[in-house]
């Protein structure tokens, strides 16, 4: 049985999606030097998974990045951002930039900006992926003033 879209779409998405992930990672890591940052980079990473989801169907993508794993990554991102904020208490106040500021226009500059960008990128990427895959796993049918959830297409009466 042939699931998903046609062979051309499958091959193209398989070739293109690693490059999209690398582009998203570079947008995250250079967020304090070039336009971009944690949020757009995270959305780009989750878009690469959405391309694979549209081309191959949900079983293939769930074998690569399961719901449990992406949920754990999502929580790690949120806790990392909170711990970056709480690390300011070492210097005295909440959100204080305690790290070494470095040199202007170099990769290590701006203190904790790069850690915040990585945390937000991890959180946004996995949370948007979770939202889309959860919405695609369940079919919601509204009939006769009742909302019903189905997991398979064949169950819908």
């Amino acid at each position: 049985m042939n699931k998903g879209m046609s062979e051309i779409v499958k091959t193209i998405s398989k070739i293109v999606s690693p490059f999209i992930i690398i582009f998203g990672i570079s947008v995250i890591f250079y967020g304090h030097l070039t336009p971009g940052g944690g949020f757009p980079g995270g959305v780009i990473i989750s878009a690469s998974f959405v391309i694979l989801l549209l081309a191959y169907g949900k079983e293939k993508i769930l074998s690569k990045l399961s719901l449990y794993k992406s949920d754990i990554l999502h929580d790690i991102g949120a806790l990392m951002f909170l711990s970056v904020a709480l690390a300011g208490f070492i210097g005295g106040t909440f959100f204080l930039n305690i790290f070494d500021k470095g040199k202007l226009f170099s990769l290590w500059s701006g203190g904790n900006l790069i850690f915040s960008n990585i945390a937000i990128g991890l959180k946004v990427g996995t949370s948007l992926f979770l939202g889309i895959i959860l919405l695609s796993m369940v079919r919601i049918v509204y009939k006769e003033n009742k909302i019903e959830f189905y997991e398979k297409k064949e169950d819908i009466k």
Binding site: G37, F105, G110, N112, I120, I132
Partner: protein, 177 residues
């Protein structure tokens, strides 16, 4: 970036036309396509206003939102219910747009010139971000350092939204009927 006045007007008029088509088209799929056009034009407009950060975010989020909306309406062939008269809606939108344009033209004489604000906070950020924080991207410096509280609130909003989706669409622990 110096772009002449006509291009601004062209982009804004195209965005208004696109959103009107999105409201009044009969097929949901064609209104979705015109909604996507409005989003892309808004991204270009952010770019020529000199805000590349917002332009990237707008472009990427627009694409993901289009995918979600498209997967919500395909396979159903829904047509919008347009039995009521369109005249009042057109009249309302016309009055709304004309009043907004008058207000903006009037506000041009009150507010300071575009790009030449006399706000002291913005000047302070532009001065502090490269010299004290050593961050080349001032927008990231403001969002993540000077205004960190706002960002942590936004992160909490996304976290809560995803937890809500996971609870509503869960498999385990649902009551059997």
């Amino acid at each position: 970036m110096a772009v002449n006045f006509g291009f601004h007007v062209f982009l804004l008029v195209m965005m208004i036309i696109g959103s009107l088509v999105a409201i009044f088209s009969r097929k949901l799929i064609s209104s979705l396509v015109s909604l996507g056009t409005v989003g892309m034009l808004l991204s270009i407009y952010f770019l020529i206003l000199g805000a590349p950060d917002i332009a990237i975010t707008q472009l990427v989020v627009e694409i993901l939102a289009l995918i979600i909306l498209l997967s919500a309406i395909t396979g159903r062939d829904v047509t919008a219910d347009m039995t009521t008269s369109k005249v009042y809606a057109f009249l309302f939108i016309f009055i709304f747009i004309v009043s907004i344009i008058t207000f903006i033209t009037y506000s041009n004489f009150i507010f300071p010139e575009f790009g030449n604000t006399n706000m002291r906070v913005g000047k302070e950020y532009l001065y502090l971000a490269p010299l004290k924080l050593k961050a080349a991207n001032v927008v990231t410096a403001i969002v993540l350092d000077f205004r960190g509280y706002d960002t942590i609130g936004e992160a909490t909003v996304i976290f809560t939204a995803i937890i809500g989706v996971m609870v509503l669409l869960r498999k385990k622990g649902k009551k059997d009927e």
